[in-house]
């Protein structure tokens, strides 16, 4: 486990840079700029919020800030994650966090109530499935794995993530019985898929309840950043099958699940884009390099689009009736399609090593 320092933000070379180098001509300036901006913002907010967390609590950010995809218009989706003694002062800390973020002119979280308040490890960890696992609870749990970063003290965040993974891995009966040579954590993959489907259904819900307002921007985000989260989660699960050595698989069991937890934890420590780059850069995926380039080219254009304040505003305010003839929207849809096509070929192309696994584990 990487016990994260207060400053995890040095702009060191990551798997995306390495993939760009491997592809030669790729630069992906927008991706790089977004990463630098996200890291700078996290440093700034970490400093502003110093002293508001403890060993039992972590201030956690989600969304573009955690994915290293920040723009000037990014929301600061945060929660005070509590994994320890109940204390009425936690609410005071939460108020102070929002106040400090307001002073920094941070854009407040969305209206759904998922962020901008307290989260409790008990609910996130114990209520997987069943009546109590609300939309908000599922969202918090899955995003803790797929796109979250602590600002400041990380101990509570790390404990909760590790324990979530422990549950998904040890309670996955099919993973261990009968004993297999290797497998994919389906309990986890199914919950990630459930979250994705919930997001897609909620997209339609918001379309109706908001009377189509903001549809165009949400539509583009759904097909790019939201889909990226889901696809990276699926890839993380498939990587258990691909990455863990025969020796470690043979030693693993429901009573000895640490090799799988370690693999998942290491993967989820990366951002969604880094998970793709870290996978696609490998020799065995060399034949997928053209698709990798298309995937990252499309995402780079998407981030470039969001970084332009006018374009973002334009899409946010675009009427649903004017979309089909709107040049900017058509351009954004083209990017979305390019990204989706590249994803399809990476997971399901005839020459992709991921194809069989995707069909076996990702469809039914």
């Amino acid at each position: 486990m990487t016990v994260m320092s207060q400053d995890d933000s040095a702009p060191t070379q990551n798997s995306i840079d390495l993939l760009a180098q491997k592809l030669g001509q790729a630069t992906w300036e927008n991706i790089r700029n977004a990463r630098v901006r996200a890291q700078e913002m996290r440093i700034q907010y970490t400093g502003a919020l110093e002293g508001l967390d403890t060993d039992d609590t972590s201030i956690v950010v989600f969304g573009s800030l955690a994915r290293d995809e920040a723009t000037e218009q990014s929301d600061v989706d945060w929660t005070l994650l509590i994994d320890g003694m109940a204390d009425p002062k936690h609410m005071d800390a939460a108020f102070t966090i929002q106040q400090k973020l307001d002073e920094k002119k941070a854009k407040a979280p969305g209206k759904e109530g998922t962020f901008g308040n307290l989260s409790f490890s008990h609910e996130i960890l114990h209520w997987i499935g069943g009546e109590d696992d609300s939309n908000i609870n599922t969202t918090r749990r899955i995003l803790l794995l797929l796109e979250s970063k602590p600002l400041g003290k990380s101990a509570a965040w790390e404990r909760v993530r590790n324990n979530i993974l422990h549950r998904y891995v040890t309670e996955d009966h099919g993973l261990w019985v009968p004993k297999k040579e290797r497998g994919v954590p389906l309990f986890l993959l199914n919950d990630i898929a459930r979250y994705w489907r919930t997001m897609v259904v909620d997209f339609a819900y918001k379309q109706r309840t908001r009377n189509n307002k903001g549809y165009a921007l949400r539509n583009i985000k759904l097909g790019l950043s939201r889909k990226l989260i889901y696809a990276s989660g699926m890839l993380a699960c498939l990587r258990c099958h691909l990455d863990i050595s025969d020796k470690d698989w043979s030693k693993s069991s429901r009573d000895n699940p640490q090799a799988l937890i370690d693999n998942l934890r290491t993967t989820f420590d990366m951002t969604p884009l880094e998970i793709f780059a870290d996978t696609l850069i490998r020799v065995e995926y060399h034949h997928l390099l053209p698709e990798s380039k298309k995937l990252f080219d499309a995402y780079d254009k998407f981030l470039g689009l969001l970084q332009g304040q006018n374009m973002r505003k334009h899409l946010d305010e675009l009427s649903i009736h004017a979309m089909d003839s709107d040049t900017e929207y058509i351009q954004a849809q083209t990017i979305r399609r390019e990204f989706g096509d590249a994803l399809l070929k990476i997971f399901l192309g005839q020459d992709s090593d991921l194809r069989d696994l995707t069909i076996q584990y990702g469809v039914f």
């Binding site: 486990m1 060993d55 101990a155 590790n162 993974l165 069991s253 009573d255 000895n256 699940p257 640490q258």
Partner: protein, 251 residues
């Protein structure tokens, strides 16, 4: 033959190694011991007593003996502690040391394989994880490891960090510290949850590695209840260090 198991003297009698030895004397299941000198002032009296202890066979029954160096000292005291330990500690007794106490790594390099670095609890800022231990062993390349399995569980209750430490540093391990480390980082007797958690990585810990119990029983009054508590804790530790399921390939 069961794993060597015994107590840290401080777990049975606070700052009183002689009293702890007396408590352990009649319990056959106690087969190893660690002399605790966690406070600076405990070190000199302990080291002075070592020749006497050896002469009178008070420690003859133990198959493994180690000494725990002070856990808090300044840079000036460090030189004195190193000199004392070098001069008076029997060479076959490992010296357990908290890495966060070290001011001068060069000074501790002199102990070579006799030094056993202990992985730390979550309050500390170093020595908690496999990666943090890496950087310490870079500076103390010959040092061995005292795996505090309770600390490792406190850092990560899924035991994945313990797994990583064992995977990366198993060739360095010379002894274990075993206890339930609570949220205030105090050493309690093992709970059922801790026993279950330790069993998940027990298959990675060779049986030849002795277990030093740090569960605090020092507050118990002398008598049958204390003797029973000591016996129970030894049984719990042996159970906790017995794998639930032997993997197909040995570690």
């Amino acid at each position: 033959m069961p794993r060597l198991a015994g107590f840290s003297t401080g777990a049975l009698a606070f700052a009183d190694f002689s009293g702890a030895l007396a408590i352990m004397q009649g319990i056959n299941e106690i087969t190893c011991v660690e002399f605790s000198a966690l406070r600076h002032g405990e070190l000199l009296p302990l080291l002075k007593a070592v020749p006497e202890l050896q002469k009178h066979s008070r420690i003859a029954k133990y198959g493994y003996i180690s000494i725990h160096a002070p856990s808090n000292f300044d840079a000036e005291q460090e030189g004195e502690i190193v000199t004392l330990l070098l001069a008076h500690t029997p060479k076959h007794w490992p010296i357990v040391l908290h890495p966060d106490t070290i001011h001068d790594f060069l000074a501790w390099q002199k102990f070579g394989e006799q030094l056993a670095i202990e992985n730390m609890d979550r309050r500390k800022t170093t020595g908690r994880t496999a990666e943090e231990l890496d950087s310490i062993f870079e500076k103390l390349p010959k040092a061995r490891l005292c795996l505090d399995i309770g600390h490792a569980r406190q850092v990560d209750t899924t035991m994945t960090e313990a797994y990583k430490i064992l995977k990366k540093h198993s060739d360095r391990i010379c002894q274990l510290h075993v206890s339930e480390v609570n949220s205030a980082s105090r050493h309690d007797p093992l709970s059922a949850s801790a026993i279950r958690a330790f069993q998940e990585v027990a298959w990675m810990i060779p049986e030849k590695i002795p277990a030093i119990i740090e569960s605090n029983l020092a507050a118990l009054p002398a008598g049958n209840a204390r003797a029973q508590a000591i016996q129970d804790e030894i049984d719990h530790v042996q159970t906790a260090l017995t794998p639930l399921e032997k993997p197909a390939i040995p570690a």
